[in-house]
């Protein structure tokens, strides 16, 4: 059963192969709704907005908020400060962590409900598990940064997480926290395959902010593989990326 809904400002697709009733898929969407109510910067009553208005002390944060903020802090440190949830104007926006974190938790919900073959795709960040209905490994196409109707690469993540950061679609939505005025315009798309979607997502964002240096960061970080496309239409792959291109 495959369903798509728009939640957290993006299309979220859940496909559970063996599921006949909608119960599993429904509980996943219910979870994403809960996450959105807590973490959305577009919802005035959300916990994150209460924090940004200074209404909550850190002692009053929820456990989920603490977990996400700790992950954000860890990611900032691991990416030499390139991943930063604090915006230039002052408020914090942990959505760069929340998406991958929520997808991973949703995948755990599905596994707890007994399903093994599924994927969750939230805005192009993907956690897959097991196999598709045809019994093959799930295949993931990397969208062309130059043409949204084309894919430029096919990968088979085999249970690992896939996340793509880019300047396209949303325009420049990632900036270099070390030089906020500098647009990242040399690379247009960076896909990361990581141990799970949370790892892939947070490092895709952090490495993208590094510009051209990002692919080297991925190369020397164990467990991460990357595929970067630059403005001239050239792709550079980390040395282990090719292994995921084999069906």
């Amino acid at each position: 059963m495959r369903r798509t809904r728009i939640l957290m400002g993006m299309p979220i697709t859940v496909d559970v192969v063996a599921s006949v009733d909608g119960a599993v898929v429904d509980s996943v969407f219910a979870y994403f709704e809960r996450v959105d109510r807590r973490f959305s910067t577009y919802i005035a009553e959300s916990e994150i907005q209460a924090i940004n208005r200074g209404e909550l002390t850190s002692a009053q944060y929820s456990d989920e908020m603490r977990e996400v903020l700790a992950l954000a802090k860890q990611t900032k440190s691991e990416t030499d400060g390139f991943f930063d949830i604090r915006l230039a104007q002052g408020p914090i926006d942990p959505s760069g962590i929340v998406k991958g974190w929520a997808i991973l938790n949703a995948a755990r919900i599905i596994i707890d409900l007994g399903a093994r073959d599924f994927f969750i795709d939230a805005g192009g960040d993907i956690q897959s598990s097991g196999r598709n209905a045809a019994g093959s490994h799930w295949s993931v196409g990397i969208r062309s940064p130059f043409n949204a109707h084309e894919i430029v690469k096919v990968v088979y993540p085999r249970g690992r997480g896939v996340a793509t950061s880019g300047t396209y679609v949303r325009g420049q939505h990632i900036y270099d926290p070390h030089a906020p005025g500098r647009l990242i315009n040399e690379i247009v798309s960076l896909t990361v395959i990581g141990p799970d979607v949370l790892e892939a997502d947070r490092f895709a964002t952090g490495a993208f902010a590094m510009g051209r240096a990002g692919i080297h960061f991925l190369e020397r970080t164990p467990g991460l593989e990357g595929y970067v496309v630059d403005t001239s239409g050239h792709a550079t792959l980390t040395s282990g990326f090719g292994a995921y291109c084999e069906p």
């Binding site: 795709d121 196409g141 496309v229």
Partner: protein, 234 residues
Amino acid sequence: MKRLALSIFVITASGAYVLHQVGNTTADDPLRSTRPVSAEETVGPLEHISDRPIANPMPLTWPAPAEALESTSTTLPSAGKPDATASRPSPIRFRPALDTMNKRPIPAITADYIQTYESAPDAAEGQPRVVRATLTARASRYVDGVYTGPAADAYYGLVQLQAVIQNGRLSAIKILQYPSDRRTSIYINRQALPLLRDEAVSAQSAKVDIVSGATLTSRAFIRSLGGALQQAAL
């Protein structure tokens, strides 16, 4: 005066040569140009690697020499920018250094890695440029391990490289020694020069289960959906 100009040129050109050895992009690459060295000199494991030429015509790509030369010009007593063609290096000759000829793989635990720049980093944009190195090693008869090459004279000092073989392929080069004292414009840090594969992107026709791309905004998604529905309604 003419003599002075000449010596300045020689200094500049040889400085450029040093960088060229690291920054070369063509068949003059040091790893490929070690064949003129005589047999008794070539006992280092790096020679073992070089003996099996890589079929790909682009073995290693470092920053373009002309740009790299510019980055050094500030540190040289230069009377002008060196001419890249004049400083074309002759093949580097590895000469055996007394205690640097490791014949067996050594564990790669600590080594100075180098990241080069295509141009001098400026204050606002201090990020290292990607060294887009390309290597399609088809010959995969290398034995996995870490191999240290001999220290080679590069005019201003010794250059020594270490090759890392993983799964039968050259996967990284580490710079063990580098004449850094006069190359202050070259930023040396503990980073590797991984050999990353490079390819042109092209549309794939394969049918896939899922598509990964940068996030769509709900607005864009809804607008697109609206457009599609509009078409569907006609």
